[in-house]
């Protein structure tokens, strides 16, 4: 039920109404942001053959895209603070679309690194940050649910993009597929159009009264301070959140990378081993909104940080038990639990940050968090590969 907007004091977030359209927009935007780097790997074999380079060189495209997406966080936060979410998501969508279209004409690997990796990554960075910010502006009472629904975009879009990419590859080759994928990413502009900006009535009056010049100057000064606000490190909660996240992300992506290989080493057919990841993704799709719903309940909401810790521990225990599993049915069960754990963590990861930092500081905080998370995300899977260990680290995190 939409909360009534009271005009004479600070307006509370809508918690409904147009907010659900905003959640849809965020869902699309976040979906493209997380799914695209993974779904692109379907094209790599073809590109590798045509450009005559090694597979690891080609795989760098995804890594660069993810790295730039996370590293672009602070810039994205600053822009969102200045201009709001809508223009930024639309700009992000345009950049992503353009990056894919120009990449389809590429004939060297470095060209692809620049187009898809750098420009595409920047576009996705703008999308991600702006989508998360606008959810915090539109929702308060139902924010965990809204976050869960928006973050569910990642497995949904991966589920949708993977077979689509395969089909496009067979019909049009990798160049045509990148062209069409670019057009699809322009749908982020539609998502941006849905993200109607929010203004409280007092701010509207302020705009009408002044001629605008002094307020803009104040705005600039404030935004420079907010760009990379290192005062966040004074906040104990923030630091603990950051450390816990770094440890989690270092270990979280390795099982995804190695799950099929581990299954094959246990004697499972390659085709069935690939199914395991699909199972995990499918479960993830439903767990994220489900977790949001649970986190929204009146027993969990005040203790959402503990719920987040529980989710991380659950993940860790799941992976610790993995080496005991040797048969395919048990591997399926493991994949299901993995999906549950992974979904729970990612549904809550930004909700907890919003809870910790509050609406005003969230955009800058998320920019800082993503640029720092960039490092473990890139180092995690190769490090796990080097140590040849299928057990991932257990992450324990407590919030006071």
């Amino acid at each position: 039920m939409p909360a009534a907007v009271v005009m004479d004091k600070a307006a509370l977030p809508l918690d409904g109404g147009w907010g659900w359209m905003v959640v849809l927009g965020a869902h699309i935007s976040i979906g493209f942001a997380y799914a695209t780097p993974k779904a692109l790997s379907i094209f790599f074999k073809e590109i590798q053959g045509d450009l005559m380079s090694s597979y690891s060189d080609i795989a760098w495209i995804s890594s660069i895209m993810l790295a730039v997406m996370y590293a672009g966080g602070p810039v994205s936060s600053a822009l969102v603070n200045r201009y709001g979410s809508r223009p930024i998501v639309m700009l992000g969508g345009l950049m992503c679309g353009m990056s894919m279209v120009t990449a389809s004409f590429g004939s060297s690997i470095v060209y692809l690194y620049l187009c898809i990796g750098v420009i595409g990554g920047c576009g996705l960075a703008l999308n991600l940050n702006a989508s998360l910010t606008i959810i915090s502006k539109y929702f308060h009472a139902r924010r965990p649910l809204a976050n869960g629904l928006a973050m569910a975009g990642s497995p949904v879009f991966l589920c949708f993009l993977a077979p689509l990419n395969q089909f496009l590859l067979e019909r049009f080759g990798w160049r045509g597929s990148l062209l069409i994928l670019g057009a699809l990413m322009l749908n982020c502009c539609v998502a941006g159009a849905l993200m109607r900006p929010v203004l409280t009535p007092t701010q509207k009056k302020l705009k009408e009264q002044t001629n605008g010049s002094t307020t803009i100057k104040d705005c600039h000064i404030k935004n420079v301070k907010q760009f990379l606000d290192f005062t966040f490190f004074k906040d104990r909660g923030f630091v603990i959140y950051l450390i816990g996240n770094i440890m989690f992300i270092f270990g979280a992506y390795a099982p995804i990378v190695f799950l099929s290989a581990y299954a094959v080493s246990q004697g499972v057919d390659e085709y069935y081993a690939a199914y395991l990841l699909s199972i995990m993704g499918f479960v993830d799709m439903f767990i994220r909104p489900g977790t949001g719903l649970i986190a929204n309940s009146k027993w969990i909401r005040p203790r959402v940080q503990y719920f987040f810790s529980f989710a991380m521990v659950f993940n860790g225990i799941c992976h610790l038990l993995c080496p005991l599993i040797t048969s395919y049915p048990l591997l399926v069960v493991y994949a299901v639990f993995f999906g549950v754990g992974f979904g729970m963590v990612f549904a809550l990861i930004f909700e907890c940050l919003m809870d910790l930092m509050g609406n005003q500081r969230f955009p800058s905080a998320v920019g800082l968090v993503t640029i720092i998370e960039c490092v473990p995300m890139l180092l995690g899977p190769p490090a796990a590969g080097k140590s040849q260990c299928t057990v991932t680290k257990v992450v324990l995190k407590t919030i006071c």
Binding site: Y83, S85, H140, L179, P197, K204, T215
Partner: protein, 327 residues
């Protein structure tokens, strides 16, 4: 061994035995040497000695013990060879002392191959020697015990590794790389050839054809065909052949050359959809806010107005640092 004798035919036989044993590579499983069971050579005259083959002809041996009713054995043949195939059958419940066995090639019975086999050491044996000289001699050879048991020997040149079954798609003016690989474990071919199917037959691709559009690289177990400046007529089926002493092993793949217009159509379609949706959403918002302005500020609680600065200090000041725990 036969006792030395001075009779011409005896000398001839001795000469044959010596030549034969000189060329045998593998040990024969059977205890009886092939010499004693082989019929005497009648085609050669006593005066001229037998002509030894120019390259040493290898002999090979393949033996299969059949316990059930059927078995299939793949035999890789690389060079011309004289192959001894042997089938050993453990028999069925009846244990007849004599069974008729015969050989077939590609389903057709070899007339001279009928023989009665006797139960020896509780097994039935069928043996035959085949000369595999060229590609026509390759195929499926089967030994059949009465109506009951059968062993198929599939004689073929080494198969090519996994071939791509989906067509390769490329664009006009672009270049494409086609690769054929032989498995690591199999023997390497003498040469590689590339052919293009031109409607009726395979036409060999020469590197120095007009236009210099083709480039063929040959490694030991891998070959690449690069075609530059593709045109639509380059579409079709391409064959790569691994040349061995016995024949050529073929693999095929399909190439499709399309113009940029093909993916452009869905691209433009999606672009139009995006523009339409964005226009609809923004128009809806504009008409919604116009209604609000007309009806005054105490309007629809669902409406919001526009400013996008982060000046939420007034709104969020109280919640900037406090945790939002109240639902």
């Amino acid at each position: 061994m036969s006792a030395p004798c001075m009779h011409p035919s005896c000398l001839l036989l001795l000469l044959l035995v010596v030549c034969r044993h000189a060329h045998t590579n593998l040990v024969s499983v059977t205890e009886n040497t092939t010499v004693t069971t082989e019929p005497p050579v009648e085609t050669l005259s006593p005066i001229t000695p037998p002509v030894a083959p120019l390259t040493p002809l290898q002999t090979g041996q393949k033996s299969v013990v059949l316990t059930g009713e059927n078995h299939t054995e793949k035999v890789e043949v690389v060079n011309p060879v004289t192959l001894n195939l042997e089938c050993v059958w453990t028999g069925d419940n009846k244990r007849l002392p004599n069974i008729t066995g015969y050989w077939t090639k590609d389903g057709k019975t070899i007339e001279s191959s009928y023989s009665n086999t006797q139960l020896q050491n509780d097994r039935y044996y069928l043996r035959k020697e085949f000369s595999i000289m060229s590609e026509e001699d390759l195929g499926t050879y089967s030994c059949i015990f009465g109506p009951k048991a059968k062993v198929d020997f599939i004689l073929a040149a080494p198969y090519l590794g996994e071939m791509r079954d989906k067509p390769i798609v490329s664009y006009v003016g672009d270049s494409v790389v086609m690769i054929c690989k032989m498995d690591e474990k199999k023997s390497k071919p003498i040469n590689w050839n590339w052919y293009k199917h031109n409607g009726t037959s395979k036409e060999k691709i020469e590197v120095d054809s007009p236009g210099h559009r083709y480039k063929i690289t040959k490694d030991e177990k891998k070959t690449k065909l690069v075609v530059h400046n593709l045109t639509e007529s380059d579409s079709g089926v391409y064959f790569c052949g691994a040349v061995y002493g016995i024949g050529t092993s073929m693999g095929h793949m399909q190439l499709r050359v399309i113009t940029y217009f093909e993916p452009l159509k869905p691209f433009l379609g999606i672009l139009v959809e995006v523009l339409v949706l964005v226009a609809v959403i923004l128009l809806y918002e504009k008409t919604g806010s116009k209604k609000e302005n007309q009806s005054g500020p105490e309007g629809n609680p669902d409406q919001t107005s526009n400013l996008s600065h982060g000046e939420n200090a007034v709104a969020d000041g109280h919640s900037g640092t406090a945790r939002q725990r109240k639902v």
